[in-house]
Symmetry: C2
Subunit: 167 residues, 2 copies
Amino acid sequence: MNYTEAKDKFISTWGALGTLWGINKAMAQIHALLWISPEPLSMEDIMEELHISRGNTSMNLRQLMDWGIVFKESKPGERKEYFVSEKDVQELARQVAKERSRREIKPVIKVLREVSGIEGDGTKKTEELIKQTKALYELADNADTMMNKIVNQESNWITKTLMKLIK
Amino acid sequence: MNYTEAKDKFISTWGALGTLWGINKAMAQIHALLWISPEPLSMEDIMEELHISRGNTSMNLRQLMDWGIVFKESKPGERKEYFVSEKDVQELARQVAKERSRREIKPVIKVLREVSGIEGDGTKKTEELIKQTKALYELADNADTMMNKIVNQESNWITKTLMKLIK
DNA sequence: TTAAACTTTCAGTAATTATTGAAAGTTTAA
DNA sequence: TTAAACTTTCAATAATTACTGAAAGTTTAA
């Protein structure tokens, strides 16, 4: 496998993984491209490499920036804007964990707390609803707390922790 | 909030979360419904409660069974089949982790190993590709190993581990 | 066996989500 | 200011994904 084959394989695999996890293909592929690029890339560069339109590129770059894993960069004397990805894998993991927690997990935890907190009325179905949503609430809340730990620790905490667990 | 409101809120929230994580709404909602149901439900019951078609119900029940989190149950003397969900939250988490690892993470790890294993040719871009995909490979491989740990431990391992980490 | 009771499959259709491309908007050099 | 160089927005459209419903398939009781 030569450079081009490896690059294409990585980009398309990353895109497919994204899709599986609810992230759109273009967004994941732009990230993949920037992740392995030693130089900042312009919108033109990205459009050309991935064969996607200007609008699509622009919208997905914005999303990646909203996620905090891609940044704008300007080269002195040039009008064009360039983009670079976060290059540290730990920081990438932290940022993704943090954003998914904030956008998706926290709101669900809130609902689970509300639902599991309703008053029992003595019926079996209400008891079951309370019991089962409470169990889910506790699981989600624990997982989320762990994520926040990860987010707020020094950068190689993940690896250290994983190592501890694996041993 | 009364029983019906709480139930509906839980089911629709669970469906929305599923969608966000690449799981279709009907599948997530059927799971939610079974999760809080004290009794096994028939296909009719599910169709009626969620207002979905027979075909849709059948296909998504199959998927839930493939994931190992919903089971068929027959009542003696009845022709109809009933369905129950795994009720233990630890077992649910284990099963979901196991399946996502097998279906999605493992294949990606394989590609990352292949891509990061290509031979360097002295160019900067090849060096960067190797370096960055190797970092991702290590992260994914660690995370997956942890998942497998979870899958193969006694049922309350997750909670214990999380507790250790949180303290 | 037969046929009733049930489940699965799948072609067609609907709903959702992603993408395009051109117009509108913004920035900057002169 | 102006206009060139660039980016963003968004209505239209394409692509993907989910859903329906009826036909085909399966199981079981008699």
